[in-house]
Amino acid sequence: MKQFTYNQAAMRVIFGVGSLGRLGDETERLGARRALVLSTPEQKEDAERVAASLGRLAAGTFTGAAMHVPVEIAAAARNRAAQLNADCAVAIGGGSTIGLAKAIALETGLPILAIPTTYAGSEMTPIYGLTEAGIKKTGQDARVLPKTVIYDPNLTVTMPAKLSGTSGMNALAHCLEGLYAENANPIMTLFAAEGIRALARALPVVVREPKNMDARSEAQYGAWLSGAVLGNVGMALHHKLCHTLGGTFNLPHAEVHTVVLPYAAAYNRDAAPESMKIAAGALDANDAAQGIYDLSVRLDAPVALKDIGMPEDGLDRAAELATRNPYYNPRPVEKDAIRQLLEDAFHGIRPE
């Protein structure tokens, strides 16, 4: 019988081409009058443009966001927020900038208005991370979940085709693992299937025609849903593998996700047949693992660990690390089988 618990956090989403124009109204709706606008140094111009458009509602900017949210930068941003007497953090950017907003919210309780420009999905999750002395610590807190998110696909057109492809596959990974999560629920399954459908349909167009706004819209819609899935249910083998490979061998985040996903799907195929059927349907493929692999090929994204900097002699260590601590996965995680999975992923062999 249907047994599940679904927890939904309050949130408001504005979606659509040109929706950045609603920023002023949405900021006021939060009751904020002194917004601190955040970005990375690379997106400084975006932050300044946003601050200008906020006019008197903007208190200032902080454009020093960096990957993995170093605690020093978080402290500097909090100081800036305090100096300016900010009552809201407006984060324009990807995971780094939204992560910085979360670090501010965690300590101060300031509401976050997020304006994502990538497919990372952080804006939909209560998960935060901070890096101190090279060690990243993550946690969950309802306070860090943005109150309002504005998705304006216009802001994603400058994302390079290649990055769009791998970032989109990273989003697709959240959907796939959400389908067979330990605490899966039908609503997140709906979101996950819709997310896969949208991404699988849109990404090939996005990488071919990065300025196609219909495809950009659909891809960002898929990224939104994937973020919601990530924020709601737990992840499994795929995420553990990517975390291990990325952290230990310093492989690029989105690329690792792109390469590993078909093999994680193949590994779990028989242990989660219902989920795979839903995923295959959403991919319009006969088999989820193969469908994901073929999608990566169509995106001209990497399909082999050897092509993204993984040393072959690291595979044993990776298998050992990824199986050291037990965690949930539909199919039991066994070292030999994981070693084989990594071997296949290393060479980029299409899953059988």
Binding site: K2, Q3, F4, A10, F15, G16, L190
Partner: protein, 352 residues
């Protein structure tokens, strides 16, 4: 993809068994220790079980029949809640009992934990209504949206087929009609299609086998999605017709929704082809209107206004009232079209 806004409130939804026993945990989560337990007389047994499970966490009960929720019943309930210094309201019952709980929440601001026993969907909406001097006044306030909703299939096992069928079709109407609401979003349409699928597969089961708990849980799932639709999108022609016919000719609420739905959909079909296609697919039918009609037949629910007590002579008055003022409809409404619709519904003709 056109621009849209999507707003979700904080909510916790639990599907499971023996949920009355988990009430103490749920109240603790809310930080409440003085619950008033509300229910209809037919649920007295469950109300007492809930009060017993809560022990000292329950400060009193309120068990009173409240069809259409007379304002004096609502007042009595909130006076009792206030006198008892209740800090939460647990309600076990259908739309009327939940309506009484909403009256308490509206006046006192205390959170509602709802355990529905019917398919009204009221537990998923912030809409309340009270009847004073024979006039029903309806409003919307987020305070009245239950914070926790717990669906225990056993609580609906006693609903007879002649109630389950129309009540389930009433929920079906929220989903189907919501697909072409003026403010439908991709997310509301995901909910709608899922609700249609769940109700279409489960209503025939619970009508044939009322004690089938899998089926009961599935109908609850559909009616929760349907209630969520009422929260997310606004109403249109179908509701106006049902309101006019039900109010003027004193026909049963769920019965009118059941009879009108296939004809309202047939009327709209050509003007909202995308929406009706989604509905048809979710119903597993070639045509949405026919699929709905056949489902109603299959579950033995009424198909004609004649059989639920309307007189032939009332049609002209119903046409006039429906058009004063004309409701929202994807297909423009005119007297001839509406007359034809009501006539078809009056005789229970299968839509062509």
């Amino acid at each position: 993809m056109k621009e849209f806004a999507y707003e979700q409130p904080t909510a916790r939804v639990v599907f499971g068994t023996d949920l009355i026993a988990t009430l103490p945990n749920e109240l603790e989560r809310l930080g409440a220790s003085r619950a008033v337990v509300v229910g209809t007389p037919s649920q007295r047994h469950s109300v007492e079980a809930a009060a017993a499970a809560l022990g000292s966490g329950a400060v009193g009960t309120f068990v009173e029949a409240a069809t259409h929720i007379p304002i004096d019943v609502a007042r009595r309930a909130w006076n009792i809640a206030t006198d008892l210094e209740a800090d939460a309201c647990v309600v076990i019952g259908g739309g009327n009992a939940i309506g009484v709980a909403k009256g308490i929440a509206l006046e006192t601001g205390i959170p509602i934990v709802a355990m529905p026993t019917t398919y009204s969907g009221s537990e998923a909406t912030p809409i309340y209504g009270f009847t004073e001097d024979g006039v029903k006044r309806v409003g919307k306030d987020m305070k009245t949206l239950p914070k926790v909703v717990m669906y225990d299939a056993a609580l609906a096992a006693g609903l007879p087929p002649e109630v389950s069928g129309p009540s389930g079709m009433n929920a079906m109407a929220h989903c189907v009609v919501g697909l072409y609401a003026p403010d439908a979003t991709p997310i509301s349409s995901l909910f709608a299609a899922e609700g249609i699928r769940a109700l279409a597969r489960s209503l025939p089961i619970v009508v044939k086998d009322p004690g089938n708990l899998d089926g009961r849980a599935d109908v609850f799932y559909g009616s929760w999605l349907a209630g969520s639709m009422l929260r997310m999108v606004s109403v249109s022609l179908h509701y106006k017709l049902c309101h006019v016919l039900g109010g003027t000719f004193n026909l049963g609420h769920a019965d009118v929704h059941t009879v009108i739905l296939p004809h309202a959909v047939a009327f709209t079909h050509a003007a909202a082809p995308e929406a009706t296609k989604i509905a048809a697919e979710a119903l597993g039918a070639n045509d949405a209107a026919q699929g709905l009609y056949d489902l109603i037949r299959n579950i033995g629910a009424p198909t004609s206004l004649e059989e639920i007590g309307m007189l032939r002579g009332g049609i002209e008055k119903a046409v006039e009232m429906t058009l004063d003022p004309p409701p929202y409809s994807p297909r423009p409404v005119d007297a001839d079209g509406i007359r034809q619709l009501i006539e078809d519904a009056y005789y229970g003709r299968r839509p062509r």
